[in-house]
């Protein structure tokens, strides 16, 4: 048997001698810093979820009917009548939410350890593009079951483009292919969701990793192992503080995978709707173009951005400001490598101001999420008495949090460009070397 494999291997090698070097470059001879911690699991977990979405998605399309007349029923059919259909659908919906959990943590890791800084700006920019495409992909997927939340979610998101002065209304009709979300809209979202965006996403992920492997991984100490001493157990010329990605980190990542699958399986089997967070209640009612659900809010992962839209009032006869605010909040993340000019990468050695600011930023983001999920509407009366003006307090609180979100970037720019940051000494090598 082993002989057969060996000879097949030789056969391929003779005809494509370039393959093994590529494998070695990215796996057995990709030297990653040896001090990766828990935060470094989320990249490989994102890959795992991506594969899950593609595989379960392919099986969902086998029974899904992308028409306004048939979509809702076909999803109910998958849930009730298709053998194991419920499991495949719950794997897909839970996967979508966990994708964002994993990607948010992955991004936060990048901010915390300065992984977006030189020379990894390209890795970061490609990551941000992935994030944008992922949001579009999630939104269009959400429309497909054609429940009432799908319908109104589609209406609101597409209307965001309608607020653009002059071209807005025509653009909105162009996106929907009708005067409101309809068959044409559902068909094209289906096409984009199952084929166009996944192809783009896969391409971007390949580029993301290729860009990372050009410059090498950062690590929790933010020191570049490529600039440290040379010579390790496998290669006299490679970084002393690097270890081969395979088998060392593949095995480590497998532990993460096992742990992650445990949590995912628990959710899929015991709490697939996650109390209305992962799958919303009103979406088990078919789309109705005359009635907006009483409580309309996006899925949890969009709520922070959605809260920003809600907090910015219209002015000069247009509602475009909220939309600018929302896109601006994402655009600033794209620009992070140029906003943050601090010379030190890792939070371990950065100034106290940075640590405080980042903490406040995370708190503001979580508060915006809570506002977008209408949690404040629910808890303000409980905390401050039933008589209070909820809208007023929601707005005051939300606007402060919106300003805090944007304030973080302003502060960061001033703090690092004007040299206010007092950093700690950065070690020569990663702190866990032997």
């Amino acid at each position: 048997m082993a002989n057969v494999f060996a000879s097949i291997g030789d056969w391929v090698n003779e005809r494509a001698p370039g393959l093994m070097p590529v494998y070695r470059k990215h796996m057995t001879e990709y030297y990653a810093p040896k001090n990766f911690n828990l935060w470094y699991y989320f990249g490989s977990l994102a890959l795992l979820v991506l594969v899950n979405q593609i595989v379960t998605g392919i099986f969902l399309t086998m029974n899904y009917d992308p028409s306004a007349a048939g979509a809702f029923d076909s999803v109910q059919y998958i849930m009730r009548d298709v053998e194991w259909g419920w499991l495949i659908r719950y794997m897909h919906t839970t996967g979508a939410s966990l994708f964002f959990v994993v990607v948010f943590l992955h991004m936060f890791r990048g901010i915390m350890y300065g992984s977006f800084k030189k020379p990894r700006e390209l890795v970061w920019l490609l990551g941000m593009l992935i994030f944008l495409v992922l949001m579009a992909e999630a939104f269009m997927g959400y429309v497909l079951p054609w429940g009432n939340m799908s319908f109104w979610g589609a209406k609101v998101i597409v209307s965001l483009f309608g607020t653009i002065p002059k071209i807005g209304p025509a653009l909105q009709e162009w996106i929907m292919g009708d005067f409101l979300p309809a068959d044409a809209t559902l068909n094209r979202f289906f096409a984009l969701h199952v084929i166009a965006l996944p192809i783009v996403l896969l391409l971007l992920v390949v580029l993301h990793l290729a860009a990372l492997h050009e410059v090498g991984s950062n690590n929790p100490d933010g020191v570049d192992v490529k600039h440290g001493p040379k010579g390790n157990r496998w290669d006299a010329l490679k970084p002393a503080d690097g270890i081969p990605f395979h088998p060392y980190y593949t095995v480590k990542d497998l532990v993460g995978v096992g742990f992650f699958l445990l949590i995912a399986a628990f959710i899929i089997f015991f709490a697939p709707t996650f109390g209305g967070w992962f799958l919303e209640h009103d979406n088990s009612i078919a789309a109705n173009n005359l009635v907006t659900p009483a409580q309309i809010k996006p899925v949890w992962y969009f709520t922070a951005f959605y809260a920003i839209v809600r907090m910015i009032p219209s002015a000069f006869g247009t509602a475009v400001w909220g939309v600018i605010g929302m896109f601006g909040s994402i655009a600033l993340l794209f620009a992070l490598p140029w906003i943050d000019a601090g010379p030190v990468k890792s939070i371990r050695y950065r100034g106290t101001g940075y640590k405080v600011a980042l903490t406040i930023f995370v708190v503001a983001f979580l508060c915006l999420m809570a506002i977008g999920m209408d949690l404040t509407d629910e808890y303000f009366p409980k905390l401050f008495g039933a008589g209070i003006d909820i809208t007023l307090w929601d707005n005051v609180f939300g606007r402060i949090m919106t300003l805090t979100y944007f304030g973080f970037f302003v502060f960061l720019w001033l703090y690092t460009h004007l040299g206010w940051e007092k950093t700690k000494p950065v070690p020569e090598r990663v702190t866990t070397h032997d």
Binding site: V156, S159, T163, F179, V291, T292, I296, S314, A319
Partner: protein, 201 residues
């Protein structure tokens, strides 16, 4: 051959000419694909006027009818409700509907009640923010979202508020008053949506 001089100018010209022609080709080839996203002839054809009897709509009640798949609110406003309208002016973005909302109603509905007959409000029930259908909260009593509620519309999506003539309050995301469609009274108890009244009738 090998020692022939390369004409760089000619080479640059050919390269850019090829790029330009190729670019024009790609752009023109993209047009049909982009145009294919526009509303099709079938989508455009659906849009006939709707006729609705008003007999069953009691005082203070709202009925929703579909016109071009859009929800149209028909409200039989009570005298109390009508009395709230002038008092809202200072809190509104465009109380007279002649500023940013100038194009949100036909001329014959550009008045204090935004209607042909004061009690009958006929309005496209689409929030001018991002297109949700606002909820009709007609009673004049304190609401959780406004202790001083004067009756009107509350949008569930981003909490925009409108008064009982669909005029938007200040400080909310929606920029304009809700739209009044073309409509006219066929007789005392029947309204037709989608067609203007005849001149002088």
């Amino acid at each position: 051959m090998a020692n022939e001089v390369v004409d760089h100018g000619r080479r640059r010209f050919l390269t850019s000419a090829t790029a330009v022609v190729g670019g024009v080709g790609i752009v023109s080839a993209a047009v049909p694909f982009i145009k294919s996203w526009e509303p099709s002839a079938r989508a455009k054809a659906a849009g006939a006027p709707v006729t609705q009897s008003l007999k069953k709509i009691e005082s203070g009640q709202q009925l929703i009818v579909a016109w071009r798949s859009l929800p149209v609110f028909i409200v039989n406003r009570t005298p109390d409700q009508l009395a709230t309208l002038p008092k809202q002016d200072p809190r509104l973005v465009d109380p007279k509907s002649d500023g940013s909302s100038a194009d949100q109603q036909p001329k014959y509905a550009q008045n204090g009640t935004r209607s042909i007959k004061p009690e009958w409000l006929v309005m496209v029930g689409i929030c001018t923010h991002l297109g949700c259908v606002p909820n009709y909260v007609g009673e004049i009593k304190p609401e959780p979202f406004d202790p001083d509620w004067q009756g009107g519309y509350y949008c569930p999506c981003h909490h925009s508020r409108y008064d009982l003539a669909g005029r938007v309050y200040q400080g909310v995301p929606a920029p304009k008053n809700m739209q009044i469609p073309p409509y006219h009274f066929v007789d005392d108890t029947t309204v037709q949506i989608g067609v203007d009244p005849k001149e002088g009738a």
